[in-house]
C-alpha cells in the first residue's frame, strides 16, 4: 500500500511540530524518517498511524482519503521504541492479540491462530520462548516479539518508531540487518523513524531528512549522502568541517584556498560557507598549490579502522578534523605538533550564510 502525505501541519500549543509536509511512500518501500529530536519525525509517523490527528492536510492510503480513519481501521502495524508489549501476557498471547480481538466473523479459529503465531515465532527465531513473559526477555528479543505482534494482523503498512533506539550497539546492528532482510522477504511498505544516520543509510531504500517540522531532502541513501541539498543535511549526515569565505564568479576563496565552484558562476563576491566531510581531506607534507591549508597537528586519536587527526589551522581560522584510513596514517607517520598541509578533496559551497 502506498502512502501519500499532503500538506500536513501539526501544532502542540505554540510549537509547530510539523508544517506543510508533503511525502510519498511508494508501495513496498522501506523509508527512513531521519532527523534530530524535535524535528517532527515521530509526530509524522503517529499521524500516519492515526495515533495523532493533523491540524491540517491529508493522509492518503493507496490514493484513498484516510485522514479521518480510526487507528483500528488503518491496518497499520506499529512498533514502539520501548516495545509496549503487554506485560501480563505471554509472548504467545502478545503475538496472538491482534487476531483474538477481531470481530467474531473475521476471527480465525484457535488452531489457525496457533499456527500463525508459531510461523511468526519461527520468523523471529524465538519459538522456544512462547510461554515466557516480556519481563523475562532481553531488549532485542522483546523488540522482535513486538515486530511479530505487529505483523500478525498482516498490516498494509509497517511503522517503526525508533525501533532500535533502546538497544545496545551490537544488538542494534544485528537487528537492523535482520529487519532489512525481513523487508526483502515480505515487502510490506515500511516507514521507520531514526535519529541515527548510519542506521538510515544502511537499512532504508529511501531517506527523508527532517528538520524543524519540515522535510529538508529526500532521496536514496547515496543521493542524500553524496548530494546534500542543504547545509543542514550535509551537517547531519557525517562529520563535517566548515570553512568561511566568499564566492566570486565560480571561484571560492576559503581561508586562503582557491577552489573552483562552477555551480556559483553567477555569484558576485557573495559570502559563502564551504562544507567538507572529515574523510574528504588529504594530509600532505608539502604544499603543491593554493588548494591546501597549512596547519599543525593538535592530537591524534585511533577510532577503530580510522585515525582522527585534529588540526589547528595556521591562518587562525580554528581547528578542523580529518579522518584518515589507518594505512594512510601509518604511511604518513604523523606526530603531534608537526606542520602539515590539509587539502580538501571535495568541498560543497553554499552561498548565503545558513545558520545551522
Amino acid at each position: 500500500m502506498s502512502i501519500e502525505i499532503e500538506g500536513i501541519g501539526k501544532n502542540f500549543g505554540a510549537f509547530a511540530a510539523l508544517s506543510n509536509v508533503n511525502l510519498n511512500v511508494p508501495s513496498g518501500e522501506l523509508v527512513a524518517l531521519l532527523g534530530p529530536s524535535g524535528s517532527g519525525k515521530t509526530t509524522l509517523l503517529r499521524i500516519i498511524a492515526g495515533l495523532e490527528s493533523p491540524d491540517s492536510g491529508r493522509v492518503l492510503f493507496n490514493g484513498e482519503e484516510a485522514t479521518q480513519r480510526q487507528v483500528q481501521d488503518r491496518q497499520v502495524g506499529f512498533v514502539f521504541q520501548h516495545y509496549a508489549l503487554f506485560r501480563h501476557m505471554t509472548v504467545f498471547d502478545n503475538i496472538a492479540f491482534g487476531l483474538t480481538v477481531k470481530p467474531k466473523k473475521l476471527r480465525p479459529g484457535k488452531q489457525e491462530i496457533r499456527d500463525k503465531v508459531y510461523t511468526l515465532l519461527k520468523l523471529i527465531q524465538l519459538e522456544q520462548l512462547a510461554d515466557r513473559y516480556p519481563g523475562q526477555l532481553s531488549g532485542g528479543q522483546r523488540q522482535r516479539v513486538a515486530l511479530a505482534r505487529a505483523l500478525a494482523v498482516e498490516p498494509q503498512v509497517l511503522l517503526l518508531d525508533e525501533p532500535f533506539g533502546a538497544l545496545d550497539a551490537k544488538v542494534r546492528l544485528e537487528l537492523r540487518r535482520w529487519l532489512r532482510r525481513l523487508h526483502d522477504e515480505i515487502h510490506v511498505t515500511s516507514v521507520f523513524v531514526t535519529h541515527d544516520q548510519e542506521e538510515a543509510l544502511e537499512v532504508a531504500d529511501r531517506i527523508v531528512v527532517m528538520n524543524r517540522g519540515s522535510i529538508e531532502q529526500q532521496g536514496t541513501p547515496s543521493e542524500v549522502y553524496d548530494h546534500p541539498a542543504t547545509p543542514f543535511v550535509f551537517d547531519f549526515l557525517g562529520n563535517v568541517n566548515l570553512f568561511q569565505g566568499r564566492v566570486h564568479k565560480g571561484t571560492a576563496q576559503m581561508g586562503g584556498m582557491n577552489l573552483s565552484s562552477p555551480e556559483h558562476a553567477s555569484a558576485v563576491d557573495a559570502p559563502a560557507v564551504g562544507y567538507v566531510r572529515s574523510h574528504d581531506i588529504a594530509i600532505e607534507r608539502v604544499a603543491t598549490d593554493a588548494g591546501a591549508l597549512e596547519a599543525n597537528v593538535r592530537y591524534l586519536l585511533s577510532v577503530g579502522p580510522l585515525v582522527r587527526v585534529d588540526l589547528m589551522l595556521s591562518n587562525g581560522d580554528g581547528t578542523i578534523e580529518v579522518d584518515l584510513p589507518r594505512e594512510e596514517a601509518d604511511r604518513l607517520q604523523l606526530s603531534v605538533g608537526e606542520k602539515v598541509f590539509a587539502r580538501p578533496r571535495k568541498m560543497r559551497v553554499f552561498v548565503d550564510d545558513y545558520q545551522i
Binding site: 498511524a49 495515533l51 505482534r149
Partner: protein
Amino acid sequence: MQVAKHHKSGVKGSRSTTEPAWVRYLLLAVALGFLSLFLLLPLAAVFVQALDKGWEAYLAALKEPDTLSAIWLTVLTAACCVPVNLFFGIVAAWAIAKFSFPGKSLLITLIDLPFSVSPVVSGLIYVLIFGLQGWLGPWLQAHDIKIIFAVPGIVLATVFVTFPFVARELIPLMESQGRDEEEAALTLGASGLQTFFRVTFPNIKWGVLYGVILCNARAMGEFGAVSVVSGHVRGSTNTIPLQVEILYNEYSYAAAFAVASLLALLALVTLVLKTVAEWKIQQTLSEAESER
C-alpha cells in the same frame, strides 16, 4: 533505627559506627512500646470490653433489631458507594492519566476536595441542597421524595466522602504505566472496550482492589457526614458508627463495644488485604520498570 542507618551511610565500614546493642534495643523498645500503647492496647480493649459479659451477651447485643438494622444499612451504603466510586474513580483516573485536556489540574484538585473538607461540612452541603430549607427542599417535598434524614442522603454523603480513594490510587499507577500498551492495542485493531478489559485493567487490577478496600473501609466507618444527614432514627437511619455512639451514650457499654468490635474487625481485615494489594502493586510496578 533511623539513626543507626544514617550513621552507617555516613562513615562506611567502621566498627564504631554501629550503635551498641543497648541503644538498638532501647530504640526498638520505645517504638514498639509506643505502638502497643496507642494502637494495640485500644484495639484489644475494644474486644475485651465487647466480650466482658461473655460470648452470649456479645451475640445477643449484635442480634438486637436496631443493631441488625444498622449493620444492614451500613452494608447497603457501602454496596451503593463502592461500585459508584469504582466506576467514577476509574473513569477519572483514565481521563487524567491517559489524555491531556484543559482543566486537568483543576480536576485533580476537585478529586481531592473531599479529603480536605471536614466530613461534617460534607454532610451540611447535602442538607443545604436537599434539606427542607435547602434549594431543592420544597420541590422534593412536593414530590414526596425524602433524601435528608433518609437512606439516599446517607448514601450521597458517603459517596462524596469516599470519592477520592479509587481515583487517587489509580492516577499515579496509570501515569507510571504510560499509554504505549493501549496505543499498541489500538493499532492491532482492538476496540476501546477490548483495550480496557484486556490491556488496561489487568495492569491496574491490584490498584483497583486497593482503592476498593480503602473506599469500603471508609464507607462503613464514616461518622461525621452521615451523622449530619441521617437524623439518627433508630432502626431506620442509623449506621454502625452512629449505633455505637447511641449505645455508648445510653451507658450500654458492652453492647456499644460489641458493635464497635465489628468495625475493628473490618479494620483488621482491611489491613491484611491492603498489605497484599500493596505488595502486588509493587510487583507490577517493578515489572513495568524492568520493561523500560
